[in-house]
């Protein structure tokens, strides 16, 4: 296509300008605002007991939600692809998709309505002496809910592509079902699983709305890193808010790097085409 250099530069400027104002500037602002007053307040914020406990709680939530959703994600994907339910497939599919489309606040409300004081299971848990809402289990449940779809959705297309030939061959040769899974299925889907795990981790680290509803925000007890950002900002501790934000942003960038490493093939091809020398030949 003949596109004049002028229009090419105009489009490039527009696109990059938009990204600069909406994305680059705000993201740089996190770094600038953190170190504006030097290193001392940053160090103070990082060693504050409430920050440390928020970090711990976030790591607990991530440490439980990610493995649980990885195991069940792989299981759900295998069930859906290899033994699709005869009825209600749409219901299963929408249950898997729903956490992605749902407002995190609604997720929080849903958990309160089931596990809260007056909730469906609330009295049962209260009698058993287990507190879920306003406590760590609630935060973990909220994190599990919002991160549920990622592994399933990444593994399903890979499983479809891989097919069942190799599995069936292994089974005919006498491998047990578990052996087949471990030696054939799992290696075939491992990159899909890895990509799903990265997405799950990113979402689990950054979840705010659902956790905000169920946590009760007891500083030093039920505060995750994202809630800590909010809390410090409302207390006018801007440096502490930005320091925590920077920690989360660094984790986000690491996630991006991992995402690019594990990206499924189809996206990789896009990137390869990107690297091809541009063809601006005129006809």
């Amino acid at each position: 296509m003949r596109s004049s250099a002028g229009s090419r530069y105009a489009l490039r400027t527009l696109a990059l300008g938009y990204l600069l104002l909406l994305l680059v500037l705000p993201c740089s602002m996190i770094v600038y605002s953190t170190f504006r007053d030097g290193l001392a307040p940053v160090w103070e914020a990082l060693t504050d007991p409430s920050f440390v406990s928020a970090l711990e709680l976030t790591l607990i939530a991530v440490g439980i939600a990610v493995p649980v959703n990885t195991i069940f994600g792989v299981m759900c994907a295998i069930a859906l692809v290899r033994r699709p339910p005869k009825h209600g497939a749409w219901l299963v599919n929408s249950m898997i998709g729903l956490p992605l489309a749902l407002s995190p606040v609604v997720v929080g409300l849903a958990l309160v309505l089931v596990y809260g004081q007056d909730g469906w299971l609330g009295s049962w848990f209260e009698e058993s002496g287990i507190q879920i809402i306003f406590s760590t289990p609630g935060i973990v449940l909220a994190t599990i809910f919002v991160t549920l779809p990622f592994v399933v959705r990444e593994v399903i297309p890979v499983l479809r592509e891989v097919g069942t030939d190799q599995d069936e061959a292994a089974r005919t040769l006498g491998a047990s079902r578990f052996q087949t899974f471990r030696r054939i299925t799992l290696p075939a889907i491992r990159w899909g699983v890895a990509y799903g795990v990265v997405l799950t981790t990113a979402r689990a680290l950054g979840e705010y709305g659902a956790v905000a509803v169920v946590s009760g925000r007891i500083a030093g007890k039920t505060e995750t890193l994202t809630l800590h950002v909010d809390e410090e900002y409302l207390r006018f501790n801007e440096v502490a808010a930005f320091t925590t934000s920077l920690v989360l942003a660094v984790l986000a960038v690491l996630t991006l790097v991992a995402m690019n490493a594990f990206k499924p093939k189809e996206y990789k091809e896009v990137a390869d085409v990107d690297r091809r020398p541009p063809s601006h030949e005129t006809v």
């Binding site: 938009y18 069940f72 299981m75 609604v106 409300l109 991006l256 990137a271």
Partner: protein, 267 residues
């Protein structure tokens, strides 16, 4: 195909059963609880909650702001995808990688830093904090990648012969874009737009700091629900949630249909 033994059939059934049980426990029962709570006082109570002035104002703002965001995204997302695929410049790889940042960055961090750049004390001298413009800005940030990532692969696959034919027949670049390229991109643009709409409608973290949450002015639906929960009005919270839930379902279904259609288009 080898004959399935009874044991293997049982194992397969176990996987399916466990998966269903897990999904039911984690997703279905809690969502059912929200629907049940919204209709606890009957249909008229539900209707009263949904049509209360505060809820209507919040839902209206959410819907209009999300629609605006989708329109902007359709244009800017296509533009960015175009520049990333058809243009070439130094640092393009970095720009391409940075696009996904809003997916990875926690929403509350996005809200905080947007407030620092576009709030009081803005280094650019632009202060939109606590206005409806701030709501739109926050939603634009969190939905940025959807249309770009939907359009990019289609643009890469797009056959250039048609464009070249059009150009050699004397079509101007704009005409070629409008008549040849855009129709091919449309399903992807729409599917990305549907996903951004779904995200925008439910967004909470990015909006909560910068919008100021002023009732009847800058309070979006998710903040309205949050406030209702905090003040113990669970029925009101559940009713507005159900409206969002229905909206999510519709958008999810639409995105699904569009995605399938665009995939068929590729083949």
């Amino acid at each position: 195909m080898p004959a399935r033994t009874g044991a293997s059939r049982r194992a397969g059934g176990l996987v399916l059963g466990l998966s269903t049980a897990y999904l039911t426990l984690i997703v279905l029962i809690p969502i059912a609880a929200v629907v049940a709570a919204s209709f606890e006082g009957g249909l008229s109570a539900f209707w009263d909650e949904v049509t209360s002035p505060g809820a209507v104002a919040a839902l209206k703002l959410t819907f209009v702001a999300s629609l605006l965001v989708v329109l902007v995204n359709a244009v800017t997302g296509t533009l960015i995808a175009w520049v990333l695929v058809r243009d070439d410049f130094r640092g393009k790889g970095v720009v391409n990688a940075v696009i996904d940042l809003p997916f990875a960055l926690p929403t509350i961090v996005a809200g905080l830093t947007l407030l620092a750049v576009y709030g009081p004390g803005s280094p650019l001298g632009v202060d939109v904090a606590y206005t409806r413009a701030a709501v739109v800005l926050a939603l634009l940030f969190v939905t940025l990648p959807f249309v770009v990532r939907a359009v990019q692969p289609v643009l890469v696959e797009l056959d250039r012969e048609m464009e070249e034919a059009a150009a050699s027949l004397g079509a101007r670049p704009l005409t070629t874009f409008r008549r040849i390229i855009l129709p091919n991109l449309m399903p992807a643009v729409l599917s990305g737009a549907a996903l951004s709409f779904g995200k925008a409608v439910g967004e909470f973290g990015a909006v909560v700091l910068i919008s100021g949450n002023i009732p009847f002015d800058t309070e979006v639906a998710s903040v309205n629900i949050f406030k209702s929960i905090e003040s113990g009005e669970q029925a009101a919270a559940a009713a507005v949630s159900v409206v969002l839930l229905v909206l999510s379902f519709v958008v999810l279904a639409a995105a699904d249909v569009l995605e399938r259609r665009s995939r068929r288009h590729d083949a």
